[in-house]
Amino acid sequence: MDNSVPLFDFAAVWSSRALLLEGFGIAMFCATAAIILAMIIGLFIALMRLSNSRILRAFAFVYTQLFRGVPLYVLVIWVYFGLAIVANINLPKIPAGIITLALLNSGYLSETFRSGILAVSVGQSEAGAAIGLTKRQIKRFIVLPQAFRIVLAPSGNQFVDAIKDTAILSIIGVPELMRMAQQQADLFYRPFEFYTTAGILYFIAVMGVTKLFTFIEKRMSRIGFTNSSQKLTNVGEYI
């Protein structure tokens, strides 16, 4: 029996730690940038879904259905290769990855935001109208701040999904964690060790984000707004 090759060997992983951590950093950067973009786009799409204009509503509906309905795998190829072919837009890899994730997540977040806005009671808007606020002011000062607290937990959940979804960006060669793990695994013939390490890193990131959102929620509930009808669910319960 030849015992010279151990069953598990993480020495190779340790020697490649700089590359893996770099990949981890890029993955987190992509996820964070994408979720921020997605929140901004998602909010506008949600407001369009709720507007009086039939055209805006239709646009927002198609947008949401499209980006929720297409697999991320296809979407990333559309953005990276498709745009280059159709419109001659050659995006660098990382921006292409961020845009892809932002599109996908904005589709989901727009629905989350829409339901969050609708969850704020009509009486709130009526009270705002009664003191003479304009529609826009009612949204800005009354409805959205309350909706924000409602959507905080599901948004944290979406962030967690975005972190894990960065792995798919490896197919267009974004040098994120999964791509790095893949390359190193092939180099050292140690797929199990490298992918497990990547998995652990994703897990740590997800735990961190979960803790962060729980913390924000606690802060939020401390500044008023703890009535039971709109009590926030712990983000931990979603994952």
């Binding site: 009086n52 204009s53 009671s121 009486g123 709130q124 009526e126 009270a127 705002g128 109208a129 009664a130 003191i131 003479g132 606020l133 304009t134 529609k135 002011q137 000062f141 009354i142 701040p145 309350q146 607290r149 500044i223 008023g224 707004f225 703890t226 009535n227 709109q230």
Partner: protein, 252 residues
């Protein structure tokens, strides 16, 4: 000061208001009574277009207001929506379910309108808001969020919020119906204070004793129509069958 001219409104097949007419003079206190579903609250909500009437007009301070919605002219709709707040800012309204803003302190609740509608600077708005809250007896709750207030206190915040804007008319929509019984009289006392100050008020209420005490005129509504209008004495001795039946069922 406030004229309601042939206002009608329906929700689908249900005709909630049928050609309602009413004049309210400056300084007058009008109480609207009637069985549930008679259209009292809807009529009140039509006055500031929180529920816009389907037809008819509201004349306030000699300016006529009608519902407007164009299917095609988006700009005209926007212009109309920008104008409506001017009317609403002059009409204070207090709701059955308080509708205080849960994400703002008591003080912020009251100063929001001063800052955003009256365009008063923040510091000055806070002073006015503080004064308004002092008048309803909440000077020790300025920095408190609504979830730490009782129903009666929330309703006081709502009253202070409306009064801070110095409205010309106040609308009260069953403001004691959601309160615990022991808190009702406190809120009614706030309204009595406004009566003494000469505020023009239209009050939808189920508190009959109170209505007959404070009202200059009482409006009895049934099935979307004003059945009878008169002084409290006239209404108490009414011979109109529906009003009579309603009052005897309640005053017993």
């Amino acid at each position: 000061m406030l004229e309601i001219k042939s206002v009608s409104k329906s929700f689908g097949e249900l005709h909630v208001l049928k050609d309602v007419n009413l004049n309210v003079a400056k300084g007058e206190v009008v109480c609207i009574i009637g069985p549930s579903g008679s259209g009292k609250s809807t009529l009140l909500r039509c006055m500031n277009f929180i529920s816009p009437p389907d037809s008819g007009e509201i004349v306030f301070d000699k300016v006529s207001w009608r519902s407007y919605r164009s299917k095609f002219n988006v700009l005209a709709n926007l212009r109309y929506e920008k104008k409506l707040p001017q009317l609403r800012a002059e009409i204070g309204m207090v709701f059955q379910h308080f509708n205080v803003f849960p994400h703002m302190t008591t003080l912020e609740n009251v100063s929001l309108g001063l800052q955003k509608v009256r365009k008063i600077k923040k510091d000055e708005a806070k002073q006015v808001a503080t004064k308004s809250l002092e008048q309803v007896g909440l000077s020790d709750k300025l920095q408190v969020y609504p979830d730490q207030l009782s129903g009666g206190q929330k309703q006081r915040v709502a009253i202070a919020r409306a009064l801070a804007l110095n409205p010309k008319v106040m609308l009260f929509d069953e403001v004691t119906s959601a309160l615990d019984p022991e808190l009702v009289s406190g809120i009614l006392d706030e309204i009595r204070r406004l009566v003494r100050e000469g505020m023009t008020m239209i009050i939808v209420t189920h508190e009959m004793k109170f209505a007959f005490q404070v009202a200059h005129r009482i409006v009895f509504m049934d099935q979307g129509k004003i059945v009878q209008v008169g002084t409290p004495a006239e209404i108490r001795n009414t011979q109109e069958p529906r009003a009579k039946a309603f009052l005897s069922s309640i005053l017993e």
